[in-house]
């Protein structure tokens, strides 16, 4: 046996894999990937949360599978192999949702199936799982899915709160009674452009707090 120093399960390096994607390496706000689904499923919080969990499962498992197989996959057909793994996971998740959360599955409609095309997953498989062991790949998958899910949930919170006056389906605004004072829900928050603007505002806030993220003007 080679004498490789064994890294502890949650060393500083591994912890970074989990925490970086939440902030300075966020897949949506910094790498600007996966925007499409961020716009599509964030009208209400419940579907957004389910979407975040689905992506997390797909990402973590396919990362582990690809990382375990990485030495056996011929370079020339690696994309196809990756796609097969992702597609398998997506179909399992899709069937699971149809069986146990049919309503939300209907709301998410094609977007569960479209997780296959979510560029964050392909990106992580190519960039990380193909070159790392299963355990760090698992952490990386979880971390990026968290980063993705966190933005999804923040965006959907604002869109549902301002657009429908509720939080996770609970009619907050109605309970406070602001409708009696003439308040009305903002119809534009439900339209896709407002999701894009909300993501933009999050990017603005994040970059004004962390100046190193600001790209140079060319």
């Amino acid at each position: 046996m080679e004498n490789v120093e064994k890294e502890p399960l949650f060393s500083a390096k591994y912890r970074k894999l989990l925490t970086n994607p939440l902030g300075q390496d966020n897949p949506i706000t910094v790498q600007v990937l996966g925007i499409c689904s961020a716009l599509a499923v964030t009208v209400k919080m419940n579907p957004a949360i389910v979407m975040a969990i689905s992506v997390m499962v797909v990402m973590a498992v396919s990362n582990v599978v690809i990382a375990s197989l990485r030495k056996m996959i011929p370079g020339r057909i690696r994309i196809i192999v990756q796609l097969v793994v992702i597609a398998t996971m997506v179909i399992i998740v899709d069937q699971f949702l149809k069986a146990f959360a049919f309503d939300i599955s209907k709301q998410l409609s094609v977007f569960v199936g479209l997780i296959i095309t979510n560029c964050i997953i392909m990106g992580r498989l190519e960039a990380f799982a193909m070159a790392n062991k299963p355990w760090p790949a698992f952490l990386d998958g979880l971390g990026n899915a968290w980063g993705y899910g966190a933005i999804l949930i923040i965006v959907s919170f604002f869109r549902e709160f301002l657009g429908s006056g509720s939080i996770m389906g609970f009619p907050v605004m109605e309970k406070i009674g602001v409708y009696n004072w003439g308040y009305e829900d903002n119809g534009m928050m439900i339209l896709p452009p407002m999701a894009l603007i909300t993501v933009g505002l999050i990017i603005w806030v994040q970059r004004s707090r962390n100046k190193t993220l600001i790209e140079e003007n060319k």
Binding site: G182, Y183, E184, N186, G187, M188, M189, I197, W204
Partner: protein
């Protein structure tokens, strides 16, 4: 007035670098240049300065808006009397009634908009820009009179922050801020921007006389057919329901005259936009299609917000095309789009707002190709010579 000038001069050192109110320099500067011509001398580069700076330009536009505002006030009163069956109001009574109704809109627009401008200017440390003087006046004029004030405040805040400040403030914005405010309101609270109630003061609360409809001519044309529309003369004078400042073509034409004589507004855009809409209207008259295509082409110029949009919105020097050729293309396409949206889109009876916003986005592209074409033409000339 020299007493005021002395006071200002005495206060000036306090706001200079190192002074006690250094942070508020832009506030001082904003007020001082608002009242007096700048006495600052350039220290390098070009030494020629025109009196016609941005502040004067903006004030001329505000002056040009006054006829529309005055007529709008009168029209609010007039429509109110019609809706509620009041017969004994004098002209002045109608005017004051309307003026007092529109005043809160103007105040909210200016307080919210200028408040944000002041705060941003302090944070960024640059001068307060005058751009909002015009925007703040335009916004109440393109609103339905019954719009709730808090909605107006929200849409003004959205327009100034998202539509303007994040692009870098006055002169950098892609979209016309006043129209951005209106579009935001239109999509956010459609119940307050469409229909046959909001255009007339007090009608949303009910109580109108029987068989009264407060629908705008555009909506009438769409829903009840052309025969039920108000006469062309009525629409030209402006005694029809509509946004506050948009109804009277006469008042808008006076404003247009002021803009053209002073050279502030671009005649190229106004002309090409009018011709574009007229041409498209005539074309549709010939081809036919739905009921709406049979509206006489010149109706498109006098109904809805077309006149107001052409004179005050499309000519916004920041968001319109900058090159002369570009202005013709920009104006003509805007005019065509207005009519296309009005006639073919069942969801939006009024196309002026959306057409101008869309062309605002396209304006830099138009300019790019106009400039490139010019470069190519000149390069060719050099090569052949």
């Amino acid at each position: 007035m020299s007493f005021l000038l002395d006071k200002m001069k005495k206060m000036e050192p306090l706001f200079e670098k190192g002074g006690r109110f250094e942070k508020l320099h832009s506030v001082y500067d904003g007020f001082a240049t608002f009242l007096y011509v700048q006495d600052k001398v350039t220290t390098g580069g070009a030494h020629i300065r025109d009196y016609m700076d941005m502040k004067r330009t903006m004030i001329i536009v505000v002056i040009a808006l006054i006829p529309a505002l005055l007529f709008g006030s009168y029209n609010i009163g007039l429509q109110h009397t019609r809706a509620f069956g009041i017969v004994d109001w004098s002209l002045m009574q109608m005017f004051w009634f309307g003026f007092l109704k529109i005043l809160p809109l103007i105040l909210v627009s200016y307080i919210v908009g200028l408040g944000i401008e002041f705060i941003v200017a302090q944070i960024r440390g640059h001068e307060i820009n005058e751009g909002y003087l015009v925007t703040g006046m335009l916004i109440p004029l393109i609103m339905p009179i019954d719009v709730p004030l808090w909605m107006l405040a929200v849409s003004v805040a959205f327009a100034v922050i998202i539509g303007k400040e994040i692009f870098g403030g006055t002169g950098m914005n892609i979209l016309n801020p006043a129209l951005t405010a209106r579009a935001f309101l239109f999509f956010s609270y459609p119940g307050w921007m469409t229909g046959d109630k909001v255009w007339i003061e007090g009608l949303t609360k009910g109580g109108a006389i029987d068989a009264f409809s407060g629908a705008t001519p555009l909506a009438v044309a769409k829903l009840d057919g052309i025969a039920r529309m108000p006469s062309a003369m009525e629409m030209f004078v402006g005694t029809v329901p509509g946004s506050v400042g948009e109804t009277s073509v006469i008042a808008i034409l006076i404003g247009a005259l002021i803009l053209l004589v002073t050279g502030v507004g671009s005649w190229r855009i106004m002309l090409s936009m009018t011709l574009g809409a007229l041409g498209m209207g005539l074309l549709l008259n010939l081809t036919g299609g739905n009921e709406y295509t049979r509206i006489p082409a010149y109706y498109h110029l006098i109904m809805g917000g077309f006149a107001f949009g052409t004179v005050f919105m499309a000519t916004d020097p920041v968001t319109a095309a900058q090159t002369n050729t570009g202005k013709y293309i920009y104006g003509a396409l805007t005019g065509i789009l207005v009519v296309v949206i009005r006639v073919f889109n069942p969801a939006y009876p009024e196309g002026t707002m959306l057409a101008i916003l869309l062309m605002n986005v396209m304006a830099p592209l138009i300019d790019h190709y106009v400039v490139q074409a010019n470069i190519r033409r000149r390069v060719k000339r050099v090569r052949t010579a």
